[in-house]
């Protein structure tokens, strides 16, 4: 039989409807991106702002030892945070997905509500919690576990803790679907074939969720790479990630062209990693 209408909707409305998101993406995303791209080749003028030009000096500066080191620190911080985040998120999500459905719901709701907190609230809450004047160390002193209150922020551990905290819900929500889809009878089958719980974890669970773990790692990595406020508030200058320096250049040093060039580098790094994630996701099928 013939189906001449297959794949050809007679109604043209769907196409018109698509123009709305298209225009929005163009206006809100693509146009600013073009402006930023152009800006990154502009010439900076001391004591003024910048003037249109086509120079590479911003990129030359962006590739200077100082900024390369900053990029290195950013990548390192993002990698460590993503790793710790996964270390916590994986077992948590694994056991969560093994609970009865009705018991899982409250945890998931809690996690989503953490996602709704802004980075500002999280950064300042942690800074308060780790401060000398009103932080947890006072509580520990009251419990006679410490002699005197101490200041834990700013510092590398403080920054990392907050970064892990903010990305944990994201990691869990990304991991959750593939872990809850993992058939329990797979591990049971391994058990009847002589595998102890540890052996079946490494032989059966891990190989079947490896892809999801990798995807989550890269997503959290990109997420942390783009964070600005937490490193700013809770990190020392030597821990500052690239976004902090971009803001620094743009707002304090009024060097918009350099900020634009640095932002382009960050964007390219994130886009590259996102593509890698998509690639891995596809090869999974």
């Amino acid at each position: 039989m013939n189906h001449p209408s297959y794949g050809k909707p007679k109604n043209r409305w769907p196409y018109f409807l698509l123009t709305y998101p298209a225009i929005m993406i163009l206006l809100l995303f693509f146009v600013p991106l073009c402006i930023m791209f152009a800006l990154s080749f502009f010439k900076r003028i001391q004591s003024a702002f910048f003037e249109p030009a086509f120079v590479f000096e911003n990129y030359v500066r962006a590739f200077s030892t100082f900024f390369l080191q900053r990029i290195g620190v950013s990548l390192w911080v993002a990698a460590v945070a993503a790793f710790i985040c996964l270390l916590i998120a994986f077992p948590f999500t694994f056991f969560l997905s093994r609970l009865r459905r009705s018991r899982q719901v409250p945890y998931l709701v809690l996690l989503i509500s953490i996602l709704s907190l802004s980075e500002v609230i999280i950064a300042f809450s942690w800074s308060l919690l780790l401060s000398k004047t009103s932080g947890i160390s006072n509580l520990l002193v009251a419990l006679k576990l410490l002699d005197a209150p101490v200041s834990w922020a700013p510092g590398f551990v403080a920054m990392l803790s907050a970064l892990v905290y903010i990305s944990l819900p994201l990691a869990i929500i990304v991991l959750y679907p593939s872990l809850s889809r993992l058939d329990v009878s797979l591990t049971e089958a391994a058990t009847t074939l002589g595998a102890s719980p540890i052996v079946s974890f490494f032989n059966v669970v891990l190989p079947n969720v490896r892809q999801a773990l990798l995807t989550t790692f890269i997503l959290v990595f990109i997420f942390v790479l783009g964070s600005y406020l937490i490193p700013q508030v809770l990190g020392r200058p030597e821990h500052w990630t690239l976004p902090v320096h971009i803001t620094d250049q743009a707002l304090l040093k009024s060097n918009m062209p350099l900020a634009a060039a640095l932002a382009m580098l960050l964007l390219i790094a994130s886009a590259g990693l996102s593509l890698l994630t998509l690639r891995l996701g596809r090869s999974q099928l």
Partner: protein, 346 residues
């Protein structure tokens, strides 16, 4: 290979009772079917034997060995799961050889054994295939091959054929039975399909209401059901309300029947006379038999291989199976051999 002895096993999940005081002795090297309606605890009992659940009370022995005291992964039991549970990240051969790998058997021996098992389940040459490239029937066989790779003491299958279509299912019933006879491994198959149990089993354990209702050979279960539950669940049955007259007769539907009665029944007790539809004979005139009933045909339906006739006798409808040439509304006589009737307590 010794008997499997299940001793007073009970299992609760929170408030839910899954099994209540189950005691069984299952013979070695036989094919045993756990048969019962959904939710009666068949899977739970199988999982308890495999060690995937812990009993709330009771013990399980394999001969002298207390199975219930051994960790699940040390029991040497082959199990086929309802979902087959094949490892999606391994190919067919590596799935089959997984247990051998855990025991540290070298790769060459593993692959050789995997090929042997593929031959056993008639899938030679499929070793390199990916699990996702297999049909339902093939997966089922691979799951069996994997469970048999370690030459287990017990071979457990949870509704292994329920995912297959009717035609394949019937072929597999025969094949599974032949495989079991060839290997001589004590095999337990869980099923809710009485036809399947009748076809395959040496011994049927009828389960219902979270207990064991009866254990016996298929024909024994069919012809001599121990209680109303079994008589109702296995095949179709007519239940006629009856009253015990004396030690060897009951009255039912206005007639007296001479029937061997269990000793435990008291005179005047309410019982049910259970008789299979195919054990009832229809006559257009009064037959010269002792056990007979008079009635009227209410309804006739053609079942293809046979005809089912519904006869009303003293306000009670009875089903009769067998070819006949009567019409709805005809006055008829029914008779049966008292040896075919079973008296059940109600």
């Amino acid at each position: 290979m010794p008997n499997l002895i299940i001793q007073a096993i009970s299992k609760r999940f929170g408030q839910t009772v899954a099994l209540e005081d189950v005691s069984l002795t299952l013979p070695e090297a036989k094919l045993i079917c756990f048969l019962g309606p959904s939710g009666c605890g068949k899977t739970t009992l199988l999982r308890l034997i495999a060690g995937l659940e812990q009993a709330s009370s009771g013990k399980i022995f394999l001969g002298e060995t207390e199975l219930s005291a051994i960790a699940a992964h040390k029991r040497n039991i082959g199990m086929v799961f309802q979902s087959f549970a094949l490892f999606p990240h391994l190919n067919v051969a590596n799935n089959i050889a997984y247990g051998l790998k855990i025991r540290g058997v070298d790769k060459l021996t593993r692959l050789k054994r995997a090929e042997e098992l593929l031959e056993l389940v008639q899938l030679s040459g499929l070793g390199k295939r990916h699990i996702s490239q297999l049909s339902g029937g093939q997966r089922q066989r691979i799951a069996m091959a994997r469970a048999l790779a370690l030459e287990p003491d017990l071979f457990l299958l949870d509704e292994p054929l329920s995912a297959l279509d009717a035609k394949l299912r019937e072929a597999m019933q025969v094949e599974l039975k032949l495989l079991q006879q060839r290997l001589g491994i004590t095999t337990i198959v869980v099923t809710h399909d009485q036809q399947e149990a009748m076809t395959m089993a040496d011994v049927i354990v009828v389960m219902g209401e979270n207990r064991v209702q009866q254990i016996g050979a298929p024909l024994e279960i069919y012809h001599k059901p121990k209680n109303r539950f079994v008589a109702d669940f296995i095949g179709s049955n007519n239940f006629i309300p009856a009253l015990v007259k004396d030690t060897q007769s009951v009255s039912a539907l206005g007639s007296i029947f001479e029937i061997a009665l269990p000793k435990s029944l008291k005179v005047g007790a309410q019982v049910a006379l259970s008789i299979r539809p195919e054990k009832l004979q229809l006559y257009s005139s009064e037959p010269p038999k002792s056990s007979k009933l008079a009635g009227t045909i209410k309804f006739i339906r053609d079942l293809g291989s046979t005809v089912e006739t519904f006869v009303e006798v003293a306000g009670h409808e009875l089903s009769v199976k067998g070819i006949q040439h009567l019409a709805t509304g005809d006055k008829v006589w029914l008779s049966f051999d008292p040896a075919d009737a079973v008296i059940l307590e109600v």
